[in-house]
Structures are given as C-alpha cells and as structure tokens.
Symmetry: C2
C-alpha cells in the first residue's frame, strides 16, 4: 500500500546540488579528458574524479573543529586537488591550469531532466539550492547550466556544512517557511535524514549513475521519506506541477 | 569632460531594490485603491504610501541598538502599518486584510525598464539583489515581477541594514569578488556612498518619480559616482551589454 504525500502545506523546495542536480563525475571526467587531449597527459580520470569527491566529506569534517576553521568548498576542493596532483601525475599543470581545473565544480553539467524538471516545479513552488557549495560557485553553475533558481542558499551563509541542523533550519527561516512547509530534494539519504531531523519534508531522487556505471547499486526506493522519485520530471508529476 | 568608467575589472552587479528596481509608491497606491474599491474605504493612499515609507529609516535605526534587537523588514513594515491604521482610517480592516496589505511589499511592480534592463545586464554580469528587504520578500517579488536575479542577497543574512559597511562587504565576499570588482546600482546617493566607502564601484540610476510627481526634484546627474544612468537600459548600454 502506498501512502501518498499530502502537499497541502508545502510552500517551497530546497535542493541538494552536487549529485542531485548536477552530474559531478561525468563533468570532471569530461574536462579531464579535454585537458589530457590538450596537454598529452595520461590520467585515469574516472579514478581521479572519484578520489576528488572522496576527499570531500573528510575535508568538511576538518572544518567542524574548535575555533574559526571553516573554509569554503572552493578552498577544500583545492586542498584535495593539491594532494591528488602527485598521485595522478598532474605535476605538469601550471598554477593557472590548476585554478581552472579546480573551478570545474563551477561548471558541472545538470542531469538530463534537471533543467526541465526545475522549470516545472518552479511553476508552483519557489525553488532554492541548499548546498554545501559556496554561493559564487552555485551562481556560476546556475548561469552556466541554465538552472532557474529563485534563491541561492548555501551552508556558507552560516559557515556550517550539511548535515549540521543549523543549515536546514536556516533555509526554512530565510524562505519564510516553518520547517514542515519546506521540502529537501536530494539523492543522498544522509542529507535527507538531516533535514528530517529538523522537521523538513523530504524527497529522495534516485541518481543511479552518480558514482558511475560500476559503483555498487543504491536502492531505488529507500524507505522513510515523504516522496521517492526517479528524476525531477517524476517529482514534478508527483507534486502535480 | 567626461571621464569614462573602465569596466575591465568589473565582475558582478548588485542592486538596491526598493525604489531602484521596483516602484513601491505606485504599487502601494494601486493596491490601496483596490482595497478602497472593495471595502468602501476613504483613504489618502498617496499620503499613506509616503508615511509608510517614511517610517522605514527610523524603524531600521531602532534595530541598530545594543543587544539582539534586529528584526526583518516584514516585521518593521507591520510595526509601521499598525501605527498608520488609526491615522489613515483603516480600523475596519481585519487582521487577515492587514497581513495581506503588509505583504504588498512582496508584490511591488518593477519600473518599466527594470526587467528588460536586468536581462540585458545579466547577459554579461551576474546580477544580485543587495537589499534591506528580507530574502523571502525578495524571492516572492522576483517571482511575481519576473526579475531574473542570479542571486538574492539581503542584509538579513547578517542581521544588518545598509548603509552599514558589513552588508556591502558581505555581498562582495559571497559573490567571490574583491570589493572593487562589484558595482552597486542604486537610486539613492546615501546607499552608493556606503558602498563606495567599502571600495565598491557605484552606478546611480535616476528614478525621478520614486517619491511621486509632486516630490522635490532630485539631481539627475549627481557627482562622485562611477556611472550615472537614466534607467537600466541606459546602464546596460553604458556597460556594453
């Protein structure tokens, strides 16, 4: 039996971005291969992309220590990249090329349904990012990819990273919603559970290829969230938009 | 002799909103007259609009005291509105009608050139609000009026109001700019001087009718700013967008 979600009190949607809206892995591999073609580098770009992303959670954890140790994602991505340079044979890249490579996160491409789905959802609900990416990264990405955000919200605004509860509660407050009037849309159960613990509504979107075609499969329909969708167009259909 | 502004280092534009992008006075008068027509009220709506706006600066000043006395613009607008109810003969309005009237600030209409000009400027530069209006107000307004912001920034994010310097510096930081790479666009010299003191570039836009056709004229071309424009289309032309 399916218990259908009642969207009566829903007033806004907030979206996780990396992996949920944009396909970071394919984007990094593609730009890496363009760099290989231009520079004659031999690099395992899929492994590089996975390693870069794998450094992300530990890097954020380091910002949760005592004192003012918070740093934005551009800075964390660069720290991780610097560790990967010797490991992946990128020593021939100049500083300008490393800066440019680090900004690939500002140019990530959306999943095929993202722009169309967001435009449909936006017809009824204000749509906002709720990302650990910094604001300028999210603005650049939206302009590059045509993501029609009504608002760009980031953990940067309070120097916290999801799943810290302050980030979800900040989003509700700034969007003028009670927590239960805001829904987080994400491809990651841990993020959704963080939102749920703050009283937000949750929609899981299944991004089967986020970690590539050879990654262990993730459940397409995890339990415990208000909605489960195959993509943003399916989410729009379920919300009647 | 005209010294032309060199936009080489310009990377983003931030806009004052009330009066610069939207015509608060005509919008309030229009909604007031609709309320009069529906309810049979006799109200001097132009005087009401001017009184509401005149309460704004003193209300913000009260939030600059010691302790955590900051309140958002929706709250300040309501405090001022409550003072105007007896003075303007609005005692017949219900609480729901007062809530609706207070939200007229979420529905302000743009000046005739605003949407077209913003779309042109946005082709080259990221465009953001930098307003004392709260985020949800700005999001509602943008959705209602078709304002194509790349980012919604507000003094609310740091619980400060312009012209406090922290607000301008926050905008540069969040947009990933040095202060001199960001330009504030505003119809108010005091706002522009606040930005200038923080190192931002400044564009004055002349909104001759902001305070109505009978208000004392303002200088069309004040001294001391990087650019002076007749409207947003003129600004777009001067910036080559």
């Amino acid at each position: 039996m399916t218990i259908s979600f009642d969207p009566t009190n829903l007033r806004a949607l907030a979206f996780d971005v990396f992996g949920t809206v944009v396909d970071w892995r394919s984007s990094i591999i593609r730009e890496g291969r363009m760099l290989s073609a231009a520079k004659g580098l031999q690099v395992d770009w899929p492994a590089f992309a996975d390693a870069w992303r794998a450094g992300y959670a530990p890097a954020m954890d380091r910002t949760r220590g005592a004192g003012d140790v918070w740093a934005d994602i551009d800075t964390l991505h660069r720290q991780i990249l610097d560790e990967l340079v010797p490991r992946f044979g990128l020593g021939a890249l100049s500083e300008a090329e490393l800066v440019q490579l680090n900004r690939v996160w500002h140019r990530l491409m959306p999943w095929p349904d993202s722009v169309g789905g967001l435009n449909r959802l936006r017809g009824r609900y204000p749509i906002s990012t709720l990302s650990n990416g910094n604001v300028s990264l999210l603005v650049d990405m939206a302009r590059n990819a045509g993501l029609p955000w009504d608002c760009v919200l980031s953990g940067e605004l309070i120097h916290r990273y999801k799943p810290d509860p302050e980030v979800y509660l900040m989003a509700a407050r700034l969007l003028g919603c009670a927590p239960h009037e805001l829904m987080l849309v994400a491809a990651h159960p841990s993020d959704l559970r963080g939102a749920q613990a703050c009283g937000l509504r949750t929609a899981y979107v299944h991004r089967a290829l986020e970690f590539g075609p050879d990654a262990p499969p993730r459940p397409a329909r995890p339990e415990g969230f208000d909605l489960v969708a195959g993509d943003f167009l399916d989410l729009a259909r379920q919300l009647g938009t």
